[in-house]
Symmetry: D2
Subunit: 284 residues, 4 copies
Amino acid sequence: MSPSIISLLHGPDQPGIVAKVSGWIHDRGGNVLHADQHLDRQENVFFQRVEWDPASGHEAREDSEAFVDFAERELGMSVRIALSDDRPKVALMVSKADHCFHDLVLRVRAGEWNAEFAGVLSNHEDLAPVAESYALPFLHLPMSLESKPEVENRQLAWLHENGVELVILARYMQVLSGDFLERVGCPVINIHHSFLPSFAGAKPYHQAYKRGVKLIGATAHYVTEDLDEGPIIEQDVARVSHRHGPRDLIEKGRDLEKVVLSTAVRRHLQNRVLDYRNKTVVFD
Amino acid sequence: MSPSIISLLHGPDQPGIVAKVSGWIHDRGGNVLHADQHLDRQENVFFQRVEWDPASGHEAREDSEAFVDFAERELGMSVRIALSDDRPKVALMVSKADHCFHDLVLRVRAGEWNAEFAGVLSNHEDLAPVAESYALPFLHLPMSLESKPEVENRQLAWLHENGVELVILARYMQVLSGDFLERVGCPVINIHHSFLPSFAGAKPYHQAYKRGVKLIGATAHYVTEDLDEGPIIEQDVARVSHRHGPRDLIEKGRDLEKVVLSTAVRRHLQNRVLDYRNKTVVFD
Amino acid sequence: MSPSIISLLHGPDQPGIVAKVSGWIHDRGGNVLHADQHLDRQENVFFQRVEWDPASGHEAREDSEAFVDFAERELGMSVRIALSDDRPKVALMVSKADHCFHDLVLRVRAGEWNAEFAGVLSNHEDLAPVAESYALPFLHLPMSLESKPEVENRQLAWLHENGVELVILARYMQVLSGDFLERVGCPVINIHHSFLPSFAGAKPYHQAYKRGVKLIGATAHYVTEDLDEGPIIEQDVARVSHRHGPRDLIEKGRDLEKVVLSTAVRRHLQNRVLDYRNKTVVFD
Amino acid sequence: MSPSIISLLHGPDQPGIVAKVSGWIHDRGGNVLHADQHLDRQENVFFQRVEWDPASGHEAREDSEAFVDFAERELGMSVRIALSDDRPKVALMVSKADHCFHDLVLRVRAGEWNAEFAGVLSNHEDLAPVAESYALPFLHLPMSLESKPEVENRQLAWLHENGVELVILARYMQVLSGDFLERVGCPVINIHHSFLPSFAGAKPYHQAYKRGVKLIGATAHYVTEDLDEGPIIEQDVARVSHRHGPRDLIEKGRDLEKVVLSTAVRRHLQNRVLDYRNKTVVFD
C-alpha cells in the first residue's frame, strides 16, 4: 500500500489558503485524511498540518515534491514534508543517567514510533554496556573545556556520516555550543528537569526544594543557543509535599522526564510540531 | 462587524469533501477562521466543524442558509449552523443542590458564554430565593408519581413558550420520561456525579466509598431515554484516599461537578459537540 | 457536644516528643482523633498536628490552655491551638475581578468552612453591589501613591476593630506595604495568577503566552514583604496550547485561581498549615 | 548502621493507643521517625504505620519481635513488621506483553526499591529472551484448561522453593484459581487495564471505546477470588478523545499501566498498604 503524505506549512495568512491546499490535493486525485490548522492573529501567520492519500497509481514521493513546489511558489509558504512510512534516523546523546535512555529505546523496539536509532553519543562510558545490550553503536568521547571544540567536531562528523535527522539529549549534561547547533543540520530536542522558565540552570530539583513549590515539572524543548530558552514542545508536573527532600524530587522527577521527553519526541516524529518565534504549534 | 458562521457537518465519507466545503466558502468570498475534522474509519462517517467570515457586504444569515442548502443537497451531509453572535436561550432544571446553579449563572453573568438564561424549573422551592437574587424566573412544580405526566406537560409548555434551545439538568433529581425527551425539541445536558459507567444509578459517592476507589469522577452527558447511558461530553476525576468518608466525597465531588458540567456546556454553546451512535465528537 | 482540640506544634527535634505529647493527652483522659507529624532532617525541626477529644466533663478551652503551657514549657515548642467549633473572622480584599470573591463567599454560605466574613475592603467601588447582595459590609477606600499610608491605616483600623483573624487577597491589585504586614497581626493569603516562581510580577498570563508554555498555573501563598516570594501553600496547573491567546489564558486561569485559592484557605482554616523558613508544611 | 523498624497495625479502636505505642517505643529508647494513623469511624477500626530507630546497641530484629508481642498481647492488634533493609523476594507472572515487565525490572535495577527478583513465570515463552537479557530465571509452563491444576501446582512449588514474598501479575492473562490464592502464602498484585469497576472483564479498551468515555484508566489491586474485585491500591486516568481508536487506547494505556502498577508495588514494598474489608489504607 502506498504511504500517505504529511505536510507542515506555515507562512503569512492570505484568503483562501485552506481551499487552495485542499483543492490542489483533490484535483490531483488525493484524499485528505486529517487536516488541522491554526492562525496566529497577533502575528498573522497561518499554520497547517494536512495528511492525505495520493491517488491510486501515484507515487507518494513524486506527489509530495509537486506539492512542495506548489505551496512554495503559488502560496509562498514554508513547507516540510514527510511520508507515513519514513523512518528517520535518531541519535541519543547521554551522560550517566539512563532512565530516559531505556524509555526511548524500549519504545522504538516496541514499535511505538517510526524511527531508527543510529547510535548513542556520550561524554562518559557508563552507559556503554547498556547500549551494547540494545545492540546500539556507542561513541564515547570524553570532554574537557579544552577538548570541547575538537570533540564536537567528531560528534558532528559522526552524526553527518550516519545521516541523523533528529538528536535527542536524554539527560546529556553538556551545553552544546552555538557552533555545534549551527552545523548539526537537524532538530535537537532536550529534556530539562524543571517546569521552565522556573529553575532554569543547574540543580533544578534543589532549587525547587528550597523554594517549597508544591508541584515539580519537566520541560521538553528544541535546543537553541539560548540555554533553556528554546521553543517548548511539552511540559508536565507532579505533585510534591513537604515530605519530599531533594532526593525524592529527583526520583519522582525521573518518571516525569520520561513521559515528557517521550511525548515530545513522539509528536515530533509524527510531524505534528512547527516552531516559530521561539514557540511551538503542536497539532495533536 | 458581521458575525462569523459556524457549521457542524456529518455524514458518509466521500472523496473531496474538505475541498468542496472550503471551495464553496472561498468562491463566495468567505475566509475560513478555523476548521477541524474527524473521520471515523470504523463507521466511515466524516465530521467537520468549520468557522468562517462571510465576504464583506454579505449577510451572515443569508450565507449560512445557502451553505446549509449546499451541504445537504450537494454533499448529502447533516448540517447544524450557528452565528458567532447567537445567544441561545437556556433553561436550568434543579432540585435542592445549588452549587452547579451558582456556577453556571455566574459564568453567564461574567460574560464567559454567549447565552441567556430563560429561567429555572424545579420540583422543590428551596432555590426560589437564589433564582430571585439573580432576577431569574422560577417555575416551581412539585412532582409526585401521579402528577409527573401533568407536571412534565407544564414544564414542556414553559420551555416551548420561552423558546428554550438548551436544557441543563444542574443536579435535577428526577428522571425525565421518554415522552418528555421526545417532545422537548432541544438537547438536554445532565451532570452525573460519578465516573460513568462506574456507579450509575443512585448514591454514586456511597458506592464509590464502599468499593474503595482511589479517584472519584463526574460525567456530563446528553440525556437519552436510557438512564445514565447517553453520549458522554466530558469527564474528570479527583484523587481521594482512605481518609475520605462519603460526606467528604460529596463535598469534593461538588467542585468536580461544577467544572465538568460547565466545560460540557461551554463546548456545546461554542458549537463544538456532535453526537452520533451514543458517542460524541468534541472539537476543542 | 464538646469541640475537639487541634494543636500545631513545631520546634527543635528531640527524643520522645511523640510519646510525650500523646502521653500528656492520654493522662488527661483525652482521645487522639488524628495525628500527623513531619521531621525536617536538614533543619532538624519537628512539626506536628494533633487533634483530640478532651475527657468528658473537661472544658476544651481549659485543656487547650494547659496543653499550650505544657508544650511551651516542657517541650520548648511553638504552639498554635484551635477548637473545632472556632469560627474565625475573615476579611476579603478585592479590586475589580469578582470570580474568587463569589467562589469564597458561596463556600462559606454553603457551610463548607467554619468561618465568618467580617467584610470586604476594596480600592474600587465596582464590587460594592455584589457585597451588598451577600449582605457583607463593604469598605471602599480609593488609593493613590500619596494616600496609601493613610488608606492602609484606615484599613488596619477596620481589620482590628472587626477582630479579623485572616485576610484573603482575592485578586487585590495593590501591594501591601511592609508596615501594613507588620501591623496587621494575622496571616494574609494571596492568590498569584502564575505558577511561581515563573512569571512573578505583572501580567503573568501575557508573559506565559509570550514564552509559549504548555501549562499555566496559579499559586496561593502567605504574603510577606518580598513580593511574590512568600511561603507557598498550594499550586495547580491547567493545560493550554498554541490555540490559546492571552485572553483565553486569563479566562482559563480564573477557574484555576478559584480552585487554588479556596484549597489554600480551606487548609488554613482547618489548621493544617505551618510555615517556617519561607516554606509550608501542609498536613492533609 | 542499624536498620529502622516499620510496623503496620490495625484492630478495634481503643483509648490511648497512640500514647501506648509511642510510649513503648520511647521507654525502650527508640526514636520515632514517622507515624501516620487512620480511624475508620464507621467500622471503629484503628490503623497505624509507625517507623522508628531502635536505641543504639539494640538489635532491630529483637526489638521488632518484642514490639509484635506487645502489640498483639497488650493492645490486641494485628501487626506486620519489616526492617528498613529487608529485601523481599518478588516473582513476576507475565504472558506476552512486556511493557510492565521492563518497567518493573529497570526500577529494581536502578535501585528505586528494596527488592530482589526471584524470577519470572509465564504461560508463554515469548518473554524468555528478555528475562535472559536481565539474567532472570524464567519458568515457562504452557497452560490449558486441563493442565491448569497441575501447572498451578508447579508454579506454587517454584514460588515456595524460592521464598517469594510478593507476586506481581504484570499483564498475566490467566485467572488464578481460588486454590492457588489460598496456597500462595503471600500477596498478589495485579494491574487491570481499566478504571475499575468500569469495564471489568475482557478487552476493557474496546469496551471504553464503544462507550465513548473521555478518560481511560488503570487499576492496581490485590488479587482475591472475586475476579477484578480485590482491594484497590492505586488508580489513574489519561484523557482521550474521539480521535483515539481502540489501538490508540491500548498504546496510551500502556504508559498508564506502568505508572499505576509501579506506584502500587512501590507502596507495598515500602510497607505503606493495609487491606481490610476489600479496601486499602495507603499511608503515603
